[in-house]
Symmetry: C2
Subunit: 205 residues, 2 copies
């Protein structure tokens, strides 16, 4: 059953095809748009047959969901690692770090915010649910830092849930604008704005 081909085990060949499909999908979905992207186009770009496509994914949407998850996971990993590095720093330093790393990660490639904040919106109930889950995770992250600030006495002791959600929205909106804006907005301005906004939102009386 499992048979090595060209010295490459089938597992790996599958994985490579999957990877090529995802790479091609990121490009196609963000250039022509998810709606108008055809599966055949996707396969052609990836150098994969439609048959292989259906071996990896059940539908175009499943590809989109995978990418959406990946991008968020990537950002979360980076942010978590960065926060580990400043584990014992004061609350405000940590918050600044959190945002800097997040913005830096997502703006490496304009296609990432485009896919996450434009193409993956309003596609299906499943994707909306996935979006909700991620908003929740990010909001929890922010909430945790806000509490830490409160405990350190540099922020009031209150419920930060809605503030956190609003800040996630602010980041989303700003990045959506960033990827679409002509002429391009300076990345550092976006990062600085978010940092200042978050500090102001948390330390407000």
């Amino acid at each position: 059953m499992a048979r090595t081909y060209g010295g490459v085990p089938p597992e790996q060949r599958r994985a490579e095809r999957r990877e090529r499909l995802l790479t091609a999908a990121l490009e196609l979905f963000t250039s022509t748009g998810f709606r108008q992207a055809k599966i055949t186009q996707l396969c052609t770009r990836a150098g994969v047959s439609t048959r292989n496509f259906y071996e990896e994914f059940g539908s175009k949407e499943e590809v989109l969901r995978t990418l959406h998850d990946r991008i968020n996971s990537l950002a979360l990993t980076h942010v978590s690692a960065a926060l580990e590095e400043v584990r014992d720093a004061d609350a405000m330093t940590r918050i600044a770090k959190l945002l800097d790393v997040f913005v830096a990660t997502v703006t490496i490639d304009p296609r990432m915010p485009r896919l996450n904040y434009v193409e993956a919106v309003g596609v299906s109930p499943e994707l909306e649910e996935q979006h909700q889950v991620w908003v929740d995770r990010w909001a929890t992250f922010i909430e945790t830092e806000a509490r830490r600030a409160a405990e350190a006495g540099v922020a009031p002791n209150r419920d930060y849930r809605l503030t956190a959600i609003a800040l996630v929205g602010a980041a989303t909106g700003l990045l959506r604008e960033w990827q679409a804006h002509e002429p391009p907005l300076p990345v550092e301005d976006v990062g600085a704005e978010l940092r200042a906004l978050m500090l102001a939102a948390i330390t407000r009386p």
Copy 2:
């Protein structure tokens, strides 16, 4: 050519059909979703034939664009009128008013934020452009109020462009969450959060 039917001039009948189509579309697009909504479904619900549909609109997307514009226009009208009423009030009162009226208008019907912030995203280049235009308008609105606050000496004198865009994003994100959240988020909390966030963002040093 133009002939009255049932005592009703053709102009008016057209307008009524158009209105019924828009009403049905708001309902259909926000329940089954824009993507999966079929034109025939829409026509059935509106009590209009497909033929009449194409007499009014060139495509499903055109209906969506019309609704998107309408909802934004409605909110803008309300907000403008409200600001007229407090023309001579201090900057902070005006800002609070702006947000209260905006939130109040858009949350009258959960289908409005659903359509504007979920269904109308990532549909087509034209719609993205329309979105950009509205973000720009709202941001300009906020910017103007911020400048007024700066002139009154209650806020620093700086460039508020990015802050304004971020605040529009915060409102969008919060309302998107509001319309999807289970159990429902209290509207007054959403309004209060936005008001506090905006004040903090503008008065920050």
